[in-house]
């Protein structure tokens, strides 16, 4: 059985992502939109089984609040930072875009990481290229 990675996102407004946006802008990080997902590693034989595994866990998934999908990438894409807290099995994936809706470049991601999104004492961040 292989590990699959499932992204869990809010389908209602994400106040944490909005708070991150406001805080980052206050800190001078040039970002226009922040999105957030929780990446959950699931041991499952196929994608459907992985999604069903998350759907069944009521501590994770509420169909009124969340949408889920299997993530194919093994590393963050453009405009993304993945942050794992030490000893945590899941990760937070942040996606930052600029005024044109384009992924922000790595230097901006690094500023966001260092200014707010990652506490290096307890977390590890991977920045998308």
């Amino acid at each position: 059985m292989t590990q699959r990675r499932v992204a869990l996102r809010l389908k209602v407004p994400d106040t944490t992502a909005y708070t991150a946006l406001v805080a980052l802008r206050r800190l001078g990080v040039p970002v226009a939109r922040v999105e957030r997902a929780t990446l959950i590693a699931v041991p499952a034989g196929d994608d459907d089984a992985a999604l069903e595994c998350v759907r069944r866990d009521e501590s994770l998934f509420n169909p009124n609040l969340h949408e889920i999908e299997v993530v194919r990438l093994g590393a963050p894409g453009a405009g993304e930072i993945w942050i794992r807290a030490d000893e945590a099995s899941s990760m937070q994936a942040w996606r930052l875009t600029d005024e044109q809706g384009l992924p922000v470049p790595p230097p901006v991601l690094e500023r966001a990481r260092d200014a707010l999104l990652c506490n290096p004492a307890i977390e590890t961040a991977v920045v998308g290229s």
């Binding site: 708070t19 991150a20 805080a23 030490d86 000893e87 200014a115 707010l116 290096p120």
Partner: protein, 237 residues
């Protein structure tokens, strides 16, 4: 009389108990709402009380640490004003880099993070002064090895840091309070959250900023020794 601000972020709680105990200890203490951040610079000392500032979004204390409310607190701490953070206030001080203060401002080098086991705890505990009282102006009026009752009420109170930083916390005398039994013994059984080094509270290098996870102000009957010492320190500063 010197003035103490009890700082209110969106999501702060315990501020009424905190300001009441400060006043009972002789302080001219005031609640300062987040809309009044511009007035904070005029105060002589700061207390960040418990709660869930900004709902602990991103991480406990992270957003508050970067709020405009913290600008005058950080400036004040750099200028020697006394700052005490309790519970969420302690988490904010670590996220703001004021405690242990071994890195740059707003670059945290440690955290009070998820308990082990990962549950919210709510229980009476004891904390023991683990430094010489005069190591910090905030604890200077406490007796050596003081054991104080307090109320632990947190899901994220476990001290965690990288190994090199942990060594600095020990050798740099940052470990202000440890969890203990009522008789002063320190061991794993007295530590409710798996905190490294049995840590309940940290102090910065200069000794003017203290971050303490359990709540002294929630104990009944009130046990005011730490608050009295803080107020005396503010008056002397």
């Amino acid at each position: 009389m010197k003035r103490v601000a009890v700082v209110i972020f969106p999501g702060t709680n315990s501020e009424e108990e905190t300001v009441r105990l400060l006043r009972a200890c002789g302080a001219d203490a005031h609640l300062v709402h987040w809309s009044r951040a511009h007035t904070l610079g005029a105060y002589d000392g700061y207390v960040l009380s418990g709660g869930f500032a900004y709902e602990d979004r991103i991480r406990a204390g992270a957003v508050a640490a970067h709020d405009a409310m913290m600008d005058p607190v950080i400036d004040g701490a750099r200028n020697g004003k006394l700052v005490m953070g309790i519970c969420n206030g302690a988490q904010i001080l670590l996220e703001a880099g004021l405690v242990p203060g071994t890195g740059d401002a707003r670059r945290p080098t440690a955290a009070f993070t998820h308990n082990v086991p990962p549950h919210f705890i709510c229980k009476k505990v004891y904390v023991k002064l683990a430094v010489q009282p005069r190591r910090s102006s905030i604890t200077a009026a406490l007796p050596r090895d003081a054991v104080l009752p307090a109320w632990a009420a947190h899901g994220e109170g476990r001290l965690a840091a990288r190994a090199c930083e942990m060594e600095e916390l020990e050798t740099g005398d940052h470990l202000a309070f440890v969890y203990a039994h009522a008789d002063g013994r320190v061991d794993d059984a007295a530590t409710p959250n798996g905190s490294a080094l049995h840590c309940a509270g940290l102090v910065n290098r200069e000794g003017n900023v203290l971050a303490l996870m359990p709540h002294p102000e929630r104990v009944f009957p009130p046990h005011a020794a730490l608050f009295k010492s803080f107020v005396r320190g503010v008056e002397a500063s």
